[in-house]
């Protein structure tokens, strides 16, 4: 039997699966069999490659060929040409947006050049449904090392020295959290994995769970050993069916190998994990609300202290960490604290995964070292703004974060710099806006989300955010007065200062940061009743330029509300009171006679 010469890696993440990657994999497997290549070629399903913009992705090893937007009908050609004849299929290669050249191997793609993959190390490399591939890539070695060679204190010391901070948003030092949980004396303790990823447009945790579920299981077991817990719970939203499925497979395989369960690796340490489902409420990402939801109570936060480390799930000390935080831990144990601490900035070590979305060329999932600038992320990794438009702002930290502008582009990204700039790291959503986005509308969009997701327990958040939303609504329809802008600011501060949990304390952030950075846009909305981005419909006016209008009556016939009048061959007129700003007239006019004011 010949040795395997080719591995064909097919992305099995949610994004690529939605565009038929399952079928592509099946076609490859059938084709390999039909051509009698089973002993030389293997087609393998992997986790997300991150380059979701151009999915489905197929990567051919060993020559590192990166095929984008592959269709099931392309499979035969790839097999015939690339695998059998050694000729790359040119039309499926990635085209560099800067040079227009075809880039055949992923090492030379701008998207990957600046990335450093620690948490995503196995995503797009191994088959997430096969524990053997994880073990081949140092899987469960860290757990083995901790259980046989290190005391819990020594393992916690490594984490503390590494400088790892919580990746869920807060940025609390992970080692310190473990130490606090360890110090509490109790018969029963729990470790929890927070997989309730709720920011709009963010999918970091989902991709880790889909692409490398074992890394989270392994780190949770390490956490259990260090804090003195023998039970782990993963709180995941039911909206992530693929991640749930892969977690279940991973847990089953780990149990079969005895890497979960009793007497792990013959050391006498017992640890097992259960899955708990969330219904997709944003507030349940807050750890006290998450714990209540797992207990079967309403997903509402409670005042801290007591912190979960002291009294959490069923009153027992509970250590809650986020998915991405866990995914870093096995590597830190294997490679050492000094290695990890050498990456990143003084106070933020390691890397961060971001979900790039919005008006950016390379929408997708990236992992970059801390300290990289926003400019590098947006213009090099992200490939710049879509359609060559002008960059306006980037929202980091999701609905709890703020908008950063041109002047922040060269700020190195880390926890403290982002807070100083008026935003936050958050869980890693990054939404890029261009000149066509109205900042007032964006603030309103995020607030709409928080109003919807507020649990309603405390009044500043329940009522305050609603009033804040109404004020923004007033601005966007042009009914606001200058006093309302002061009200916006004051109310925002009150909500921030008096809300019970992180949701309310951070929900006015998009409003405040847009007021700070784009105050002139607010003034334009109020004083001039003008929206420069042209997205606030109430402030727009469709007008007919009499010189250009020949009176063809086409617009009048197409107006759904009969707002246009005028004699044939005479310039027409739009009745602003009737106009619903649908734009149908402008679309139909052949003489550029209709303009937006």
């Amino acid at each position: 039997m010949g040795k395997i010469k080719y591995h064909m890696l097919v992305c099995g993440g949610t994004g690529c699966q939605a565009s038929q990657s399952e079928e592509i994999l099946k076609n490859f497997q059938a084709g390999i069999q039909a051509k009698g290549l089973e002993s030389e070629v293997q087609a393998i399903k992997t986790g997300c490659f991150g380059f979701c913009e151009k999915g489905p992705i197929v990567k051919i090893m060993p020559d590192n060929t990166f095929y984008t937007q592959v269709k099931p009908s392309d499979c035969n050609e790839i097999l015939e040409e690339h695998i059998i004849k050694g000729r790359k299929v040119g039309r499926l290669l990635y085209t560099s947006p800067e040079t227009g050249d075809k880039v055949s191997d992923s090492k030379h793609m701008g998207f990957y050049k600046k990335q450093l993959r620690i948490a995503l190390r196995n995503c797009g490399v191994i088959n997430p449904e096969n524990i053997d591939e994880y073990i081949a890539r140092d899987g469960y070695q860290a757990l083995g090392k901790v259980l046989t060679e290190l005391s819990p204190e020594a393992a916690i010391a490594i984490l503390k020295k590494s400088g790892l901070r919580g990746r869920g948003g807060g940025g609390f030092p992970t080692g310190l959290k473990w130490e606090i949980t360890r110090a509490v004396k109790a018969d029963q303790k729990f470790v929890v994995c927070n997989a309730d990823e709720g920011d709009p447009g963010a999918f970091m945790d989902r991709s880790v769970l889909e692409g490398d579920p074992h890394s989270v299981l392994e780190a949770m077991a390490i956490n259990g050993y260090c804090t003195g817990a023998d039970r782990g719970l993963i709180y995941i939203r039911a909206e992530y069916p693929l991640a749930v499925e892969r977690l279940k497979i991973a847990m089953r395989q780990a149990r079969e190998y005895g890497l979960l369960g009793n007497d792990i690796l013959g050391t006498g340490f017992n640890f097992d994990i259960e899955i708990r489902y969330g219904a997709g409420a944003f507030v349940c990402g807050e750890e006290t609300a998450l714990i209540h939801s797992m207990e079967g109570l309403r997903g509402e936060p409670t005042v801290k202290p007591p912190f979960p480390s002291e009294s959490g799930y069923q009153g027992a000390p509970t250590n809650v960490n986020n998915v991405e935080t866990y995914a870093n831990i096995p590597v830190i144990i294997n490679k050492g604290a000094d290695w990890f601490a050498s990456i990143g900035t003084e106070k933020s070590k390691g890397t961060k995964v971001f979900a790039l979305a919005g008006k950016i060329n390379n929408v997708g999932l990236i992992e970059v070292p801390m300290g990289i600038t926003l400019r590098e992320v947006i213009f090099e990794v992200g490939g710049g703004i879509k359609g060559g438009k002008k960059f306006k702002a980037v929202q980091t930290g999701g609905p709890s974060g703020g908008m950063l502008t041109e002047k922040h582009l060269d700020t190195p990204i880390d926890y403290d710099n982002l807070i100083a700039a008026g935003s936050m790291m958050g869980s890693g959503g990054m939404i890029v806006m261009d000149e066509d986005d109205c900042m007032v509308s964006m603030a309103k969009f995020y607030l709409d989300f928080t109003v919807e997701e507020s649990c309603g327990k405390c009044s500043p958040c329940r009522i305050g955010n609603k009033r804040l939303y109404e004020l923004l609504e007033k601005v966007t329809v042009g009914d606001a007065v200058m006093e309302d802008l002061d009200k916006l600011r004051n109310l925002s501060h009150v909500i921030k200062d008096t809300s019970l949990c992180g949701l309310g304390q951070s929900s006015p952030n998009p409003v405040l940061s847009s007021l700070d950075n784009f105050y002139e846009e607010y003034i334009e909305h109020v004083k001039d009743r003008k929206c420069r981005a042209g997205s606030c419909k109430s402030l727009m006016q469709y007008l007919i330029v009499p010189e250009n209008c020949i009176g063809c009556t086409l617009c009048a016939r197409n107006c759904p509300v009969d707002a246009i009048s005028g004699e044939r061959k005479q310039p027409h007129l739009i009745d602003q009171a009737k106009c619903i700003k649908c734009g149908a007239c402008m679309e139909k006019c052949k003489f550029n006679a209709i303009i937006i004011n």
Binding site: K5, P62, K107, V125, R137, G139, G144, G266
Partner: protein, 132 residues
């Protein structure tokens, strides 16, 4: 499935599994490794390139040499098929012509292990768009 009973057992298991993903790990960073490209167009295959590729892969496996073997298209030296291009880390690629199984072993012994040249080198006498 058997349970893994100790860290030593886990390590042993990893060693035996490593070969399965070796191909993927190595090729993420081909520049740092020995790269062997076998020309596998119709002319190459007809003159035995497939067998030559097998020899390289098998010998590397046997002697535990860290190398990446890939196939490429026709290099244009049809008179000298099978042809093989070898890049040692940090060196310019060198193309060998008239390679058969025996010659492949010789190339490994002399050039790859000892950096000694072997008969049949095809001088590069063109410029490619990559060097321009």
């Amino acid at each position: 499935m058997e349970k893994i009973k100790s860290l030593a057992e886990l390590k042993k298991m990893q060693d035996s599994l490593r070969a399965r993903i070796d191909l993927r790990e190595k090729s993420n960073d081909p520049e740092s490794r020995i790269q062997v490209k076998v020309a596998m167009a119709t002319c190459g295959i007809a003159s035995g390139a497939k067998e030559v590729m097998e020899v390289f892969i098998e010998e590397f496996g046997k002697r535990n040499i860290d190398a990446v073997v890939t196939q490429t298209g026709c290099m244009g030296y049809c008179y000298a098929e099978p042809t093989v291009e070898i890049t040692l880390p940090g060196q310019e690629p060198i193309t060998f012509g008239y390679v058969d199984g025996k010659k492949a072993s010789k190339i490994i012994d002399k050039y790859i292990l000892n950096n000694e040249l072997v008969d049949g080198i095809i001088p590069v006498n063109y410029e490619s768009i990559h060097t321009k």
